[in-house]
Symmetry: C2
Subunit: 335 residues, 2 copies
DNA sequence: ACTTTTTACGAAAACGATTTAGTAAAGGCT
DNA sequence: AGCCTTTACTAAATCGTTTTCGTAAAAAGT
């Protein structure tokens, strides 16, 4: 069916070793022969068999990115980080493959690794359990976690600086003149949540503002979770003049709820999101937000996986990348 | 490093042919031997080498889905169709792999196919050119186009019923009592655009309503394209009482613009979107929309690719799947 | 007791590439 | 001429499976 190295060899009356060497730039091939081989390969549409090459060389030049597509907003991160990841992979002469994982087959990731289908793995934040990590470590299989800080020193990860993002966002609101700044948390994400909450609290403290527990409410990424939090804030005797939501999708909810209640944004209340997703452009006014450096994360995570592939015994690396405050229309000084 | 069939054979003092047969359910293996092999394979953590197996068997049991991640809203479709696609692939004992394509390397898809990395391809609507299709046909490589109707009878595709969606959406608005229904088009998507426009026009005609060219405006998936269209509609002597947008993201824009102008939704003007993306939940009120059957599309497209892999010489298939009208809060009878 | 069939296994080839080890032929040197 | 080096190639092993063919031993049939 498809054309192999032997087909080229026969056609040129050469041995397949010579053809292989010509294609792979070995020096013990005459210029003339190399030229003929190259030309014929081109003409016959030769493409080396990935299976044969990988079997012989023991590597695939592929990195696997595993995603649980049942987690909805995953795709937002995906579209943000993939361009950087793909470009970096290309420059390292590797391919990035996205594997889907389901709850049906928890062993899928390990199977793929052990079957030698990829040389390294990017684990997307919440998409794994402890046993997977332990198994990868035991196998000495190169992997890097993206989006979650793991305290295990054997584990490499790349995360955005949640703490700084939260701190800077709060600081920005304080600089605008706000003192009653509400904050929504996301309790199920322990590490990220703690970092963000602490950033908020520290920014208040450093500005000499006492924090008010009434201004802190939990939200979840389910519909209308932000609505309830907003209504709670509005019912306070002294409502906030700014709301800093844990996540852009929650902020969308906050903004819609405020609209509905006749509250003007940003004149009456400022709203700020977190993550820098496209949803920030869907609100009126567009949303001020703390953006994750998704392209940088994609780039870095591929670089780190590649390093681990090249040198599996090196120390694990922990990267915390700076976030960016994106000022749009939903924030302004208080009345 | 990793454990091979030969390791198991040595450990049990068997030949590797016997081990292979035991693992693959051949009948000329005694029950006792099979049991021992299975157990040892389990104990040693054996996982067959994908490369070796694929080299020998000539197939990979993988389907590739190619995406150009630089196209923004692709991920919305992705998250919608992937669960169905993955589940179907699983039931067919195949894996779905997502490959990224970039403008850097237009030959990437063909290389992957010719390298034998996958057995079949899902082509995502706009992510290919004519030459790619021609090359795949020439190679007799199994592929199915998703989301775009190709008039070439050699090409299999799976598309949502754009025409019916547009017709039914318009019909619904008419049944609510609207007669002045604005419609936005998306000129750069020829086939889908024509189908949708025709559905709108036919629904009007069938209801005995003359269409008004002033109520048809082009939009694009760039920021604020929907804003301009909306402002144009509002300036008309006799403005529409309903706006049917070509795409949910445009409808978000329309809704925000109407809010800004003080127009109430749905009391003053009804708004309807198309596609059924998550964006429909980000507006207040939530958006009535014509949803693409993304899960069904995912399922069908994998089924079709699989059929073509099993029987490459069968006739190409064309599937048009029914859309679904999802009624939420942005539509109501006119005043 | 003899042939025939069945059972359970092994030897070896094959898939397509890479790579090591070897070798004719040509050229250079004394 | 005789020896050494370089050049340009080939043979063959190898990666880990699958699969065809062959064959002892056991079981069954006469």
């Amino acid at each position: 069916m498809s054309v192999s190295i032997t087909d080229i060899a026969k056609h040129l009356k050469l041995s397949n070793s010579t053809v292989s060497k010509a294609l792979n730039g070995y020096s013990d091939v005459s210029d003339q022969t190399r030229e003929r081989v190259m030309q014929t390969a081109q003409d016959m549409g030769y493409q080396p068999s990935a299976a044969a090459r990988s079997l012989r060389r023991g590597r695939t030049d592929k990195i696997g990115l595993f995603l649980n597509t049942s987690i909805e907003y995953v795709v937002d991160y995906l579209s943000g980080m993939i361009p950087g990841a793909v470009m970096t992979a290309q420059s390292l002469e590797m391919n990035l493959l996205i594997h889907t994982i389901t709850d049906n087959d928890p062993q899928h990731l390990l199977k793929v690794c052990r079957a030698g289908e990829i040389d390294g793995v990017v684990l997307f934040s919440t998409h794994y359990d402890e046993r997977t990590i332990e198994a990868l470590i035991a196998d000495k299989f190169p992997f890097v976690v993206m989006g979650r800080a793991i305290s295990d020193p054997r584990v490499s990860y790349v995360v955005p600086d949640y703490y700084a993002g939260s701190y800077e966002g709060t600081q920005y609101l304080i600089e605008l003149g706000h003192t009653r700044i509400a904050f929504t948390t996301r309790p199920e994400l322990t590490t990220a949540n703690e970092a963000r909450l602490q950033g908020y609290l520290d920014a208040l403290t450093d500005a000499g503002i006492a924090h008010d527990d009434d201004l802190i409410a939990p939200t979840y990424l389910i519909e209308d979770s932000g609505t309830r939090a907003t209504e709670t804030f509005l019912r306070l005797q002294q409502p906030p003049t700014a709301i800093f939501a844990f996540h852009d999708l929650v902020a969308v909810n906050v903004i819609n709820t405020l609209h509905k209640q006749g509250v003007r944004i940003p004149e009456d209340i400022s709203v700020m999101g977190f993550d820098g997703l496209r949803a920030g452009f869907m609100t009126m006014p567009h949303m001020t937000t703390v953006a994750q450096p998704l392209a940088d994360i994609g780039e870095r995570v591929i670089k780190r996986v590649h390093e681990r592939i090249e040198n599996p015994d090196a120390e694990a690396t922990q990267d915390t990348l700076p976030v960016e405050l994106i000022i749009r229309g939903s924030t302004a000084p208080p009345k």
